[in-house]
Amino acid sequence: MSNANAPKISSVTDLYAVAYGIEAAAVERYELLAAQMEAHNNPDLVVIFLDLARAEGIHRDEIARLAEEADVDVLAHAPRVGKWPKGESAEEVDAGAAHYLMTPWHALELALGGEERALDFFSSVAASAKDPKVKKLAEDFMEEEAEHVNLVHRLMRRYPAPAEAWGHDLDGPVAQD
């Protein structure tokens, strides 16, 4: 995903709205993935995705609180800031990458991608911001995302990368004959 196509940030209000949108979309996506895993009887992944949704939810609520203190209505402002390419914001992990046999390692790999994209986005905002307030806020979000990247790296060490045949199902779906 290229930041060239990301929403343009020209004020603190824009940045709060976009940051809130990133976290809110991530919560929604992780909850969707948790529901998919529940329906497909992969309970380990339900727990992981719900944990990820909870973590993003805490971040979302914190941004909402900060925005409120700054007198910014993030929901009202969000539609004025433009859209993400292909309709996916930085931390909206690719739902198309889900698999019913995916492992915690896969979930964390998806999460890592999302956190890195968010870090990349806030870094580019901080680097290009002309307004010092926007720059400062973007740097704060950058720090937060950098912590998340480190956290996911640490979590990934708990779960070894799966064997190559992880998706092999002894009773998998087969074309009818």
Binding site: Q36, R80, A95, G96, H99, Y100, P173, Q176
Partner: protein, 278 residues
């Protein structure tokens, strides 16, 4: 024209039901559902003024996952149901959800005549080029060399070209979308719903279970390099010669929608009910 850039009067979540969505993880239809709800929210339509009609297949599960009125009809007959509904209740927004098997094979005949009639409704076909629900048989859009237990070596048959057929049959709006781009797809659906007459939107929606090769589609799709045309001949040439992964509105016609005059009901519903009493 409004776009999704303006504040939606409603939120997409208002159009989602509490029914657990059951598709294979990774299925494109999850994204199509997101596009439906985002489009409805952008249009600001009350859920009770929308009807989502479907036939049979994975894609046809969509009505249950929305909070709108829905009709999960019989295989291939969704357009007939929707046509009857729209001509009698023209004030409703009617959206039909189908798949390439339901829509182009079992319902192929209805597809032609729905385009020809040009009733003001939107027909969304989630094309994954396979019968997913019944475990991987070739559909009318399957490539001729798709090798399965039921079609060893492939069918050898030329695939159906839905967009050209829609155009030739009289559809008033023809577009192609990709499930993996839900906001762009929502934008196309907004335009399709707003456009008078029969709007046909083919959404490339990968079947990750029986067509894992379709995961590659996300790298193949690209925006249509030309603006929509209202010239059907030009549109046909473009569609016939494109690579099948052009995304966008490809044709926007100006035919008058078909809407017969509806007289007063000749019979009360309660009288009809008597005929069905057990």
């Amino acid at each position: 024209m409004e776009s999704l850039d303006t504040k939606p009067a409603r939120k997409p979540a208002e159009y989602r039901s509490d029914v657990t969505q059951i598709w294979c993880p990774g299925c494109g239809d999850y994204h199509v559902l997101m596009s439906f709800t985002r489009a409805f929210a952008a249009l600001g339509l009350p859920p009770e003024e929308i009807v989502v009609v479907s036939g049979i297949g994975c894609s046809s599960r969509i009505p249950a996952y929305t909070n709108c009125y829905g009709f999960h009809g019989v295989h291939g007959r969704s357009l007939a149901l929707a046509a009857g509904l729209k001509v009698t209740r023209p004030e409703l927004t009617v959206v039909v959800a189908s798949g390439d098997g339901d829509g182009y094979s079992i319902g192929g005949n209805h597809f032609l005549h729905a385009c020809r009639r040009n009733i003001d409704m939107t027909y969304v076909v989630m094309d994954n080029r396979v019968y997913g629900m019944t475990k991987g048989q070739p559909s009318p859009t399957t490539e001729p060399d798709f090798d399965t237990a039921l079609s060893p070596g492939g069918t050898g048959l030329r695939p159906f070209h839905p967009l050209v057929i829609a155009l030739a049959s009289g559809a008033n709006f023809v577009a192609r979308a990709f499930s993996g781009a839900p906001n762009e797809t929502a934008d196309i659906l907004v335009e399709a719903i707003r456009h008078p007459g029969f709007s046909f939107v083919e959404i490339l929606s990968p079947c990750v279970t029986f067509r894992p090769d379709e995961k590659e589609w996300k790298n193949l799709v690209h925006p249509a390099p030309v603006a929509p045309t209202s010239d059907p001949a030009k549109a046909a040439r473009r569609i016939m010669t494109d690579d099948g992964f052009n995304i966008g509105i490809l044709y926007r016609g100006d035919r008058e929608p078909y809407q017969p005059a509806i007289g007063p009901a000749r019979i009360d519903v309660s009288e009809l009910e008597k005929d069905f009493e057990l």
